[in-house]
């Protein structure tokens, strides 16, 4: 018979109470894990950013466009390896609930600057050749069961009308962090149609994507780009792709902060629940601890019993919570895929789960342990009978 055996048997003494406490921890760890994953998903665009890319936009706001003529001037700036451009299209597929991030891009240069979007060579060639074509990410293609060759019609919001595309390729991410929920089509197609419908909006783009040779030169090149268009009608604001993506996150920072706070609140609440369980447990067994002390067991033996039981309960809840986090995150990722293109449980989240449950187990047992260790044997024995 070992102390460990006694710890296990003590934990199972009130099966319902222990089961309910474990259930509480499981739900808390699950909630904590999902909320942390949600926060990570919020930053996924930032994390997927390349340090070898700069984004140049209109310095007033992203809403305002930039002239296409800037492309050649940017290309000539020392340190620039390649330039592409894209514009947010915001087309709706069938209905507004089917949100797909969609952009008009210059296909060849865009795919050169985004090597993380991988598609078979024949599909790539077909996309570049066909001006009315589009490519879609693997997740969005799966979501709408699109196949190569299908015709997709988007309803324009910024650019009114029905826009018809032939799907020429389905890309997948070379890295886990790559967004597979987007749709890209030819900027030229957009521009040609605008020439007929709204000529004043032609030859404009939303952002320039600038590939650079040396990421360490990002600041200097950004400055050089902005200097080139200083005092023009459309001044630029150039920054790293990470900073550009971060600006979107910053807009919703309050929400992220609230989610983070809630995730920690969940842990604090479950800590109170486990502490209550352990306090009840220790109070009920104070006589037994007195008996053990009478037999010669020391304070650290008693502490081991209480801390051990608390840790067993919290660890069991943690294991169940972690196991449930993966399918839940997958379900959540599928349901909210259009808003969170990358919804993966990270290893850091798992470590945080483990650390949180360990902390809960330890802190919940502190007061009951202190009380049990310090009670006088004679006082403890008086509580029996």
């Amino acid at each position: 018979m070992h102390i460990l055996k006694l710890i296990f048997r003590n934990a199972l003494r009130h099966k319902l109470r222990t089961a309910l406490t474990i259930l509480g921890i499981t739900i808390a760890i699950l909630a904590f894990g999902i909320l942390r994953t949600l926060v990570s998903a919020w930053y996924s665009g930032v994390e997927a950013s390349s340090s070898a890319r700069l984004i140049s936009r209109n310095s007033i706001s992203l809403v305002f466009s930039l002239p296409l003529s800037y492309k050649e001037k940017i290309r000539q700036i020392p340190g620039v390896k390649g330039v592409s451009y894209a514009i947010w299209f915001n087309g709706t597929y069938i209905s507004e609930k089917n949100f797909i991030p969609n952009f008009a891009v210059e296909p060849k240069t865009f795919l050169e600057l985004y090597p993380e979007y991988v598609l078979p060579e024949d599909q790539k060639t077909a996309f570049i050749r066909d001006r009315k074509s589009a490519i879609a990410g693997r997740k969005v293609a799966e979501r709408f069961q699109w196949k190569v060759g299908d015709t997709i019609i988007l309803k324009g919001t910024i650019f009114p009308g029905a826009w018809e595309f032939v799907l020429r390729g389905i890309y997948y991410g070379a890295e886990k962090s790559a967004d597979e929920t987007q749709l890209f089509f030819h900027w030229n197609y957009l521009n040609e149609r605008l020439k007929k419908t709204t000529p004043r909006r032609t030859d404009q783009t939303g952002v320039y994507i600038i590939g650079i040779d040396d990421p360490d030169q990002a600041a200097e090149i950004s400055e050089a780009v902005d200097k080139t268009f200083k005092n023009s009608l459309a001044e630029t604001l150039t920054e790293t792709e990470k900073a550009f993506q971060m600006s979107f996150v910053t807009m919703t920072e309050a929400i992220v902060t609230v989610i983070q706070l809630v995730s920690f609140m969940v842990i604090i609440i479950i800590m109170a629940v486990v502490a209550n369980t352990m306090a009840m447990t220790a109070r009920e067994r104070i006589g037994e601890y007195a008996i053990m002390k009478t037999l010669g067991f020391g304070g650290w033996h008693i502490a081991t019993l209480i801390l051990g039981e608390s840790l067993i309960i919290s660890t069991t809840g943690c294991v169940f919570g972690i196991i449930l986090t993966f399918p839940t995150a997958e379900y959540f990722g599928k349901t909210m895929g259009s808003f969170f293109p990358v919804f993966k449980v990270s290893i850091i989240t798992i470590f945080l789960d483990i650390a949180a449950s360990f902390l809960v187990g330890m802190l919940a047992a502190v007061f009951p342990t202190w009380r049990a260790v310090n009670i006088q044997i004679a006082d403890g024995l008086r509580k029996i009978g």
Binding site: R13, E288, M292, K293, T294, L295, G296, F297, A378, G385
Partner: protein, 230 residues
Amino acid sequence: MTEIKQPIVEIRNLTKSYRRGIQVIPVLENINFDIPEGEFLALMGPSGSGKSTLLNLIAGIDKTDTGTVMVGGLDITSMTETELARWRATHVGFIFQFYNLIPVLTAFENVELPLLLTWLSRKERREHVEMALQMVGLADRMDHYPSQLSGGQQQRVAIARAIVTDPTVLVADEPTGDLDRVSAEEILELIARLNQEFGKTIIMVTHDPHAAERAHIIRKLEKGILNAHP
């Protein structure tokens, strides 16, 4: 010629009081007495007379206000809590009124509990436990949990737990207080046998005159004062 036995317990000028708020309640006053080695002593007295407190002081689970308690030549009143815990583990066997077995442990495991504090191997521990359970006549019940045993059987397991470390002194606080008459008789018989056959020094607190009759010496406490030697 009568053999003069060496005292195993020597109590000198012992006083003990409890505090209730600002009120000091004296429990034991100027206690002086010896218990010879191998004796069976019964401490009697009405409720609140201080007999259990005196037993606790002899067993090293409570602290005196003043005075000394020497057991086996060691002054236990000058020991630290850790030293006392170590001393109790090897020198004192406890028998309580309500048996105080750990409910999630079998009879075997309950008896084995004090041996976990020793350096005995698993095999040696098993031998000691089996021998102790045999002595109390429960070798066939070693895998039973306390809830599967009668009150008398539980008390016998508690006695086995008390003797398994071969302690210097056995202290028993109302060991038959929670038992029916038949079971009480069996327990008293067993305690008496431990004294007679194995020479164990036994200090038993009881308010039952019939139980006290088993002892060789009976000392009475009244309002914290030990009466004169009979």
